[in-house]
Assembly symmetry: D2
Homo-oligomer: 441 residues x 4
């Protein structure tokens, strides 16, 4: 829908489409019948009839939504419609539709299936993004640029290190997200009160068989009002999107005309060549803006009453779908932006030089203080900076004209005092650590 | 969509549909051309050609969404498509499409129009709800029931008072919401940087004429990055929905089988007559669960950069649409639940009687303490309650068998000590105050 | 506390201190006794004794907090301690402490009083901020600077216009906040179930007299579970802080070394003169980051059960106090930053010039398209930009070397095509409108 | 503080106290000096002097907070004060204070230490809670009670199963929380730009030694603007608190006088014996109300700019501290409530009987439908229920008077149709699965 166009992708909007929802619910009913037939609880003929009827294309989503609103669940009208359809073809089999299940069993398991299908869509974009960032990091291992703290210039870093930091953050974010997706791959099946009583003593057998049909795990028990797996998924989306938003924000800042150190692909148009089109980052930042509130909505709904909740559960679907789709939109968009990112190494160096050496004041203090004491080191720096400002010359020139400078600094240090390459500390070691790090769990 | 079916109504999903979005955007373009023609800036023929072309049915929402994603706004592909359409019929007029406007002008003004159309849908349900509650309050002015604090029995109230409290809370919530809707009825029109520079010195004239065409107010200036009107609307939805959720929660609690004091219409079915179907309240509680997080999302997005934002703005549409639709779903659902609510006055009295008089302990203390002192009054009550528990007789009986009781309480007080009607204090005065109260601003 | 140091001010942390809380609660009890004495319900001597005892310095906040936790309210241990203290001095009067009130009456009215005292602290900083911004806007009415959209250069604006936009947004934000504070200035007084039953038929009389003592309004009824006034205050803080955060964000961006158009006072230190210390903006941005979630927390808590809630109410105090203090910290900090802001008009102009005229491409199209048509106008611009890029000369030079340019643009337009002063449209009119605008309600 | 008294515990408020914050920061400085001395970078004498000076009791928290506000970090004034104190005793050593570190290194590592100390406080209460629930579940393995769905009666469960469901949800919640705490136990150490440049090529050596001193892990790189470990902790608190809130909500509902199936310890007082004091649950519900918004606040702040953020970081401390303390308050409170919970098995059975057998309608359909078909089974049930309502007799009696009943139901089934013990399905198997389940990771 146009109102949500920036908050999803084609693949993800399809994954949560009406047809996908209906088919996932119908798949549950077909699998339930198959499992019960396998266990001899219902006739195989009934299972076959139900499977045949359970095709989304025969069902009217709008009518089901309308009736679902009146009963606060679409499972009831859907089961009714399915029963009617089975009855048309095979009247005897209709009695076996939905046997032993409750409406929330259908709806929750269907959502689990939708999530299972959404994950690979995200995984593919995550791989694309991570791979592009690794390439950038390696290519720019030696590209010096300003560090920036509180949006002000700081001692230099390399762009390779910056990109490696993004890689590591994404890796741990994705690990959480992947694990959370994995945790959600469980069947929901408890019947009216979560005891599977309508199936007598065959409840757990049916659960096992049903899970096998659906390629899902059997959880320790029904989770009608224990929503923590889904909550963990939503939260993991929030954390991961937070990292995506951080990266997109950095790039948008680097793309400012006054900074000019990076550009998304497709930047500029014939009539507005001064514009670097930050459309990719913008979509990602939008998602990072939106998702934290969605996480709060989901967590709020966890307080579900007794065996099945009155409100919290019914609030989940829009939040879940919006969260996963927003995460995917953020990811797809950033992956494309990073995949075609141009980096202006020259401009990065110029922006260092623009500071006229002042960002190396810290270096002088680090070198001089152990010998001169902090006060004297700071006085040396202050004098040098003052001379630099007055003369328009560089901080290094200002420093060299001080007699104290050569007392406390070696000639080599003095000569290279404003060379960014000489003040990178452990940048390259850290870069390699970050790139080779694998989150343990 | 099925994924959102509990979070909207038919009328509201139509109000934010693709067609509604497209037409509202096209209406802006048509009105802009009309205004500029009226002022002699463009030919009337061009305005006519643009008006003719600006019909949503000719535009492909899916294609526009796709292109819009690449540019982080659908205004650009829409204007392009409109221009192409005008050109087909009247090549000379195409140059006058969108003259002086920027993409956010179109999008924001379109959203303002959608909100303008959403309000009456909500207003009608609000009126229905308020009216039903007033009727209930009057009908049950003398219906006594338990007060309940921290979910425990407390001295009696009337259901009329309870309903009147709901009316007053809704009235002030609606007043805020209505005012917030009113505040949003302003044109967005600033051009690329918010100076209307492309229109030379005619910018404000065009703004006035355009606003008149669209029946909107002219704000003091463009609000591309001042989102407080929309934020206030979203927040007002949050507050109002909070009140709706409180009412729905109370009713759901009263509908518990063990309480049994109220029932939504349509309660019970032939096979599950013990079930009171709380579907209406549940939809309302679901919305109240969800909306606070949406409010947070919107407020987070207010920090939009400089003249037009890079992320915060792009996050707004889904949040706005979800908030208004959820509010409307909560309202429609509760209005129907309250409109057909059955109230069991008999059961309300029985639930008072079930407490065996213990909830009147406070009354004895209130009557006795001024004479006997707090300690003695509490001792009197404790002894009476203890006798009541042991004997199984009522608190009144327990009290009467104490010699102190008649020292500190009049015979009349003693005889009616557990009569709920005698311990309603200012309930009826308060009820009338609450119903006649009108929020000032 | 250190953990919260950036999220409050000295004045506001005092306003919500233990002493302030205790005294506000004790003031309620003293005023209640005074009101009841005035109406002849209790002896004047008792009212005097209670007033004397009701001094926070005699009470042990830590002990009260501990006992309060066990009973989920501090009102109970506080009333107990007050009663004991009255009893020490005047045993007969102890029975009249807290007569007719419930624990939530004390706690809510105390919070209302704390809010009443917090508002002037915020108001004073708001005035300081608004006044500083008006001065800046007037001083820089003619200071041209880049407009910036999606963090990219756009046609010029004036800094005066930018500041005026901030003024208008703050004015409407403050209006909402001020009104919300005003709405909260109401007594809470309902007794156990909200009927004032313990006071017989004198409940409303006592309410009136008590409100008069406390200089508060009498609401239409008790609001034990109608929290919308407080919710509206919290939301208004969220909206206002959103605007503060937008302004602070803009300034932090302008302060980037590469942009260099503004600086907070106290920028730079002897050793890090390249650093512009954005400490003020940073505190404001931090608050804007935090408050939206607090708003969600408060709205979530509105669903309070029946006559007094079991959880939602008990969640309110920390959220309320954090919200108001964060808002105040954001405000104080930004007011100081803006109060001493230096603006570098020269650098603003240089940043326009750095774009080499490309931001005026839109102007050429606006001027040429009505005559040449859009396609031809865009072709003209594209050619000019291309020549400019290749030659390193300005966009204007690139334009002038096109024969078409003089066909569609006047000589005057051509000569001043990249003069920012010639392309400000309605900037000054809008600036004046924004500054003179007063939000109606 | 009184304003937060329900949102913390004594132990946790001590863990985040001013003294704890200061000492944790000073410990970092002492450990840094010790590590650098060990590596021969600074003299051992300096490390000793710094260690001696680094005692929180010598530092003025209020003054540091005030200065910290002006610089948007307390690290700067604290390091200054520490340097001054070292200088008093050993002027030569002052130059070695804070060598190579940046202010965020100190602050982040201090927070990590506070979190490390907070975890055992929570762990101990978690163990207490889980153990109490396991005991309850075993004791009530055979205690039948109503299932309740959407707050309406449903087929029976056992209280043992219900409690086992709580245990499993808590176990997975705690696993996440524990892992998240573990992940945060990492050093922050990067120097001004995250390259450790001020330490030349010794940066990683110092990091290793410093981490060893502080008993923390060394992360792959500095995480100044990669906040995902902390975000994961905050989110895990949110999920875990969501589960705590669900349990507390269930108990508060069971404690309703009309339900009367459970009671917290300390219920009732001499004067209000009808009141079951739900103070413990209420504190837990309050935390669950509040924490989701705090999670949103934290996630929002993840978008931190470049090498150190301008606002997001500065927003973290109050949110982190409030989240962990609220979680701990919820946990401590619920552990006490559950530890002393009384369960009324008799009342549980009575509440089943109150439904007059109607909740077994589902059972009849489950038994009859496979033979009779759904329509006939539903007709049988409807007739029985109707007779039951008219006669006032039980559903079973209503059923038995139907000739069809004995066609489709066995005598044994008929005779025990409303026996809760006969309709528990897999309740006990599920209970044991839930209790023996261990979350894998």
């Amino acid at each position: 829908m146009l109102i949500d166009y920036l908050a999803t992708t084609d693949a993800l909007s399809e994954a949560f489409s009406d047809r996908a929802v209906l088919q996932a619910m119908l798949d549950f009913e077909a699998a339930l019948a198959a499992a019960e037939a396998r266990l001899g609880i219902i006739p195989q003929q009934a299972a076959d009839a139900i499977r045949t009827a359970a095709d989304a294309k025969h069902f009217d989503a709008a009518a089901i939504a309308r009736d679902g609103r009146a009963q606060s669940t679409i499972s009831i009208p859907l089961v009714k419609a399915l029963t009617a359809r089975v009855k048309e073809n095979d009247p005897d089999s209709a009695r076996f539709v939905h046997l032993g299940a409750t409406s929330q069993d259908v709806a929750d398991t269907a959502m689990v299936q939708l999530l299972k299908r959404a994950e690979p869509i995200l995984a593919s974009d995550h791989d694309r993004l991570e791979s592009a960032l690794r390439t950038l990091s390696d290519r720019h291992a030696n590209t010096v640029m300003l560090g920036r703290t509180l949006l002000q210039p700081a001692p230099p870093i390399t762009f390779g290190l910056k990109a490696a930091g993004w890689v590591a953050a994404l890796a741990s974010g994705w690990r959480r997200l992947h694990q959370s997706f994995a945790e959600t791959k469980v069947l929901q099946f408890g019947g009216a009160s979560g005891t599977l009583a309508a199936l007598g003593d065959r409840g757990l057998d049916v659960a096992q068989a049903l899970a096998a049909e659906l390629k899902l795990d059997v959880p320790p028990g029904p989770w009608h009002t224990n929503r923590d797996r889904l909550a963990a998924l939503v939260a993991a989306c929030g954390i991961y999107t937070g990292t995506l938003g951080k990266i997109a924000g950095d790039i948008a800042l680097l793309m400012q005309d006054e900074v000019g150190e990076a550009a998304e692909p497709g930047s500029g148009s014939s009539t507005m060549p001064h514009k670097r089109n930050a459309a990719g980052c913008v979509v990602t930042i939008a998602a990072a803006t939106r998702v934290p509130g969605l996480v709060a909505s989901f967590l709020t709904g966890m307080a579900q009453e007794h065996e099945r909740g009155a409100g919290g559960w019914q609030a989940e679907w829009p939040t879940l779908a919006a969260t996963v789709q927003s995460t995917g939109a953020a990811l797809a968009s950033l992956a494309s932006a990073i995949g075609g990112l141009s980096v202006d190494s020259e401009r990065m160096r110029q922006n260092i030089e623009r500071t006229n050496g002042a960002i190396f004041a810290e270096r002088v203090i680090a070198l001089a203080a152990p010998k001169a004491g902090k006060d004297a080191a700071q006085a040396l720096v202050a004098a040098a900076l003052s001379r630099s400002r007055e003369s328009g010359k560089s901080f290094r020139d200002g420093l060299m004209s001080s007699p104290d400078a050569s007392r406390w600094l070696s000639d080599e240090d003095l000569n290279t005092i404003d060379s960014p390459e000489q003040y990178l500390g452990s940048a390259e070691s850290l870069r390699q650590r970050l790139l080779s790090w694998r989150p343990e769990r």
